[in-house]
């Protein structure tokens, strides 16, 4: 379960940045084209924050949708999975959104 390792990284980073202040909420950005399941992440967050400065904190997850741009015909379109196929038939597609895995911000104090 990689959500555990991912969530551990989030909690380690925010606790380090909080410098001893209590963390009230954490906002992360998890694109829909990552292999990370938000519900698993929420579950892990409860476990991992126990006994840390982020115990009891809220986890807010933004989920950017998947999007791609065709390098052949320049059209932009929605991607619901990693199958890179433009409506024009080209497979030369650049993923422009959906692969984010970032810590956005936190609220402390």
């Amino acid at each position: 379960m990689h959500e555990l390792a991912i969530t551990q990284s989030v909690v380690d980073s925010v606790c380090e940045r909080a410098g001893g202040r209590p963390v009230r909420s954490v906002r992360v950005r998890v694109g829909v084209l990552t292999a990370v399941v938000p519900d698993s992440m929420r579950f892990c967050f409860g476990l991992v924050t126990e006994g840390t400065a982020a115990e009891g904190a809220q986890l807010e997850i933004d989920q950017p949708p998947g999007a791609g741009r065709c390098r052949t015909c320049a059209v932009e379109f929605t991607l619901t999975d990693l199958i890179l196929l433009c409506p024009c038939g080209s497979a030369d597609v650049e993923i422009t959104s959906g692969q984010e895995l970032q810590i956005v911000s936190m609220e402390v104090g």
Binding site: A5, R17, L85, E107, V108
Partner: protein, 246 residues
């Protein structure tokens, strides 16, 4: 960044200023609390350690190949053959990642190859810190090929950069043609896909061409080779590909 003894240095808890992976925080008061903008990759720390491993290996002409598959696809068997067949051409060393046991490392050790076992316990993948420790323990010779057997798992290992040159994903013909569609993240990350156990093709309904099409639907330019660790079919092409990894 190196320690005096030449081992890659990531012993301190916070990345130092020269290699700061995150922009400096902006603070704005909001109600009772204070909002701190972070805007940092979740895996920034792993990525930083991986980058140090990569530099450490580049400096020594060491090339690491990260070998991933579901449990039992044939990683250890392919590595046993490769270290035996390639040992004469180039120094080879192996990192064995497993949740438990030293069995796979013992299999490699019996071939006479340098090997270190990393047990991940509850963890389902190797990470850059484990790779750093493995490099320190192995201290691979200049110009080595370092084969890394990741934990048998088609999801998590794809997310964690170790500092390797390339990623090899193995699928065996008993696993089903649609594996690349079920585990697209792993197949999208691959530089090379090995379709292993080709000796069993007469007995299973596995469509090699269809599997290659599925793999290319998530990774258009990926190289694919069909091999059998048992009969040796196709292994020469796999060794040619390894020889290109410098």
């Amino acid at each position: 960044m190196l320690r005096e003894d030449g081992a890659p240095d990531h012993g301190h808890p916070h990345p130092h200023p020269g290699a700061h992976p995150h922009p400096h925080e902006r603070r704005q008061p909001s109600g009772a609390g204070e909002t701190v903008t972070i805007e940092q990759k979740v895996l920034a720390k792993n990525d930083l350690l991986a980058e140090r491993n990569r530099r450490w290996m580049t400096d020594r002409g060491v090339v690491a190949v990260n070998v991933m598959s579901s449990p039992g696809a044939g990683k250890t068997t392919l590595l046993e053959r490769a270290v035996t067949d390639l040992g004469g051409r180039r120094p080879v060393a192996v990192v064995e990642g497993d949740q438990e046991t030293r069995l796979d490392a013992d299999r490699i050790r019996r071939t006479g190859c340098a090997v270190v076992q990393v047990n991940t316990g509850a963890g389902c993948h190797l990470d850059a810190e484990m790779m750093r420790d493995a490099l320190t323990a192995l201290s691979p010779a200049e110009g080595s090929l370092l084969m890394v057997e990741n934990v048998g798992n088609l999801v998590c290992p794809a997310l964690f950069d170790l500092g390797e040159r390339s990623k090899v994903v193995i699928i065996s013909v008993t696993e089903g043609t649609d594996k690349p569609l079920k585990y697209p993240y792993m197949f999208a990350a691959a530089d090379l896909i090995l379709i292993n156990k080709s000796d069993l093709l007469p007995y299973v309904d596995f469509d090699v061409e269809q599997c290659v099409r599925h793999a290319r639907s998530v990774n258009p330019d990926v190289r694919v080779l069909t091999v059998s660790a048992t009969t040796g079919e196709g292994l020469a092409h796999w060794y040619d590909w390894l020889a290109e990894q410098r």
